[in-house]
Symmetry: D2
């Protein structure tokens, strides 16, 4: 099926014993918080909102994932630094480190999704299709409604 969301290209996964894939999460709504640990809007808005999503929805309905897509200050935002950051901010959901790009500063998943910057929130439906891409801030009320609408969609992949 041609409209599946691009795969997550990760050089490393944190907060999970095994790497995750969108295929493996099929059947659940997947919410991806694309962030950089030194991005003020991610720290004050995007990541706290992601933590509320992880606490509000049932894990069997919604998989909350972080994607650390570093496109600036690469040397300051290494996986080692990210690990300390996640520890200090008590972020427990799985976080993928976006694979370094080959031709420029943008990492590979960020480029595949054509992201404009961070924070960006991606919503992927139960059948693996990208349904929304919110760059910047989105209100909790609208987002709660939007996620629930995806949760309640019947899957008829068969």
């Amino acid at each position: 099926m041609s409209d599946l969301a691009p795969p997550i290209l990760a050089s490393e996964w944190l907060n999970t014993p095994e790497p995750l894939t969108l295929e493996g999460l099929c059947g659940r709504v997947v919410v991806i918080e694309c962030f950089q640990m030194l991005c003020p809007g991610c720290v004050s808005h995007g990541l706290p909102q992601a933590q509320r999503i992880a606490q509000t929805f049932r894990p069997q309905d919604v998989a909350m994932i972080g994607l650390h897509c570093v496109f600036e200050h690469h040397a300051a935002m290494t996986p080692l630094s990210l690990r300390a950051f996640l520890h200090e901010y008590r972020i427990r959901f799985p976080v993928a480190v976006d694979m370094t790009g080959e031709r420029g500063p943008l990492p590979q998943t960020m480029e595949a999704y054509a992201l404009e910057g961070t924070p960006t929130l991606l919503l992927i439906d139960r059948e693996g299709r990208l349904r929304a891409r919110h760059f910047g801030t989105i209100s909790d009320l609208a987002l709660g409604a939007e996620i629930m609408a995806l949760v309640l969609e019947s899957t008829d992949a068969g």
Copy 2:
């Protein structure tokens, strides 16, 4: 059908040319913010949240209504004062003044719904049944999801 939500018993309606009834709103989700104009939690939390609901959902899906259910300081919270309050706080959705009780301080709709205090948020589904009663605070994320779930229910009243 025996489990319909009790009717709104109003002595007066503000912000609407005509009185509203739950029957008349049937087919839409109805959200009722039960408040008192001098209740700090209503002013800081409940009413701003109600305004966000009115701005976030489509009117054909969700009817946002206020219910001024005065159970204390009756002389200070008259309809005349309420009118000034709604003007100053820019509250535009329809507001019913709960009918004064006959046997005590509680107004009649508040008593019929057995409310514990203010703020309380009531959710009524498209078929007119009371589905939730939130006393105190509820997060925007959970509430957005809860309202959307009611919006997406098919009505098969027939």
Copy 3:
């Protein structure tokens, strides 16, 4: 001395066994929060800041006073309503009800001080002179500094 702050013309005092006067408070810095109970900026900013002032400075140094200067919705903001409001918002410092004006909507103290609206914060020094008039919002950091500067002025009224 000609530059003394105009007197507070009050029709009533709440939260104090006896009416207060600026003369009687001479020797202390006097901070006056001019507000209306149905003014949103007063409720969200001005009055909470006034409560913090009352809690932060020593009473022998700083007298915190409210002035209810109603210039609109007069029938909705009566002393009876104000009393309920102060109770619900747990405002404990003395509050004067500004005397109704004789020629227009502005009450008399408000007119004498040429206030532009509410909230306005007035600062009166230990010798009874008006030293600052802040209409709208002022940051806590700047205000804390400004009040302390007045507290530390030596009084040489002699």
Copy 4:
């Protein structure tokens, strides 16, 4: 004079063309924000407050300085990372990197001041004496007053 504040032992200074010393700042009140770039309380409370201090007081009265005293996750909070952090959070005041300790995880200035953790705010008077050490949060109103009291002290070092 034996009660002078301990010197700042810095391995590096950022946001200033030349290293600073407390002696060199003598005559001004010095406020030192002791922080770690991955400390959530520093990012949400301490550093924004320090920025407000820098904006509120006159530079000739108050010198605002940061002290990056890393006592955990040393490899994640290097000067290179700190530089990116200061850039992203638009922190413009001078920041010293506390000198790595010789016997344990605590850096040297932190140990000399016997700090309990981060954020800690230090206040040094115009004559170079340590006057306050606030670990955790302190309200803007109380802090504004406290700094102003030091600003208004006459210096009679002679």
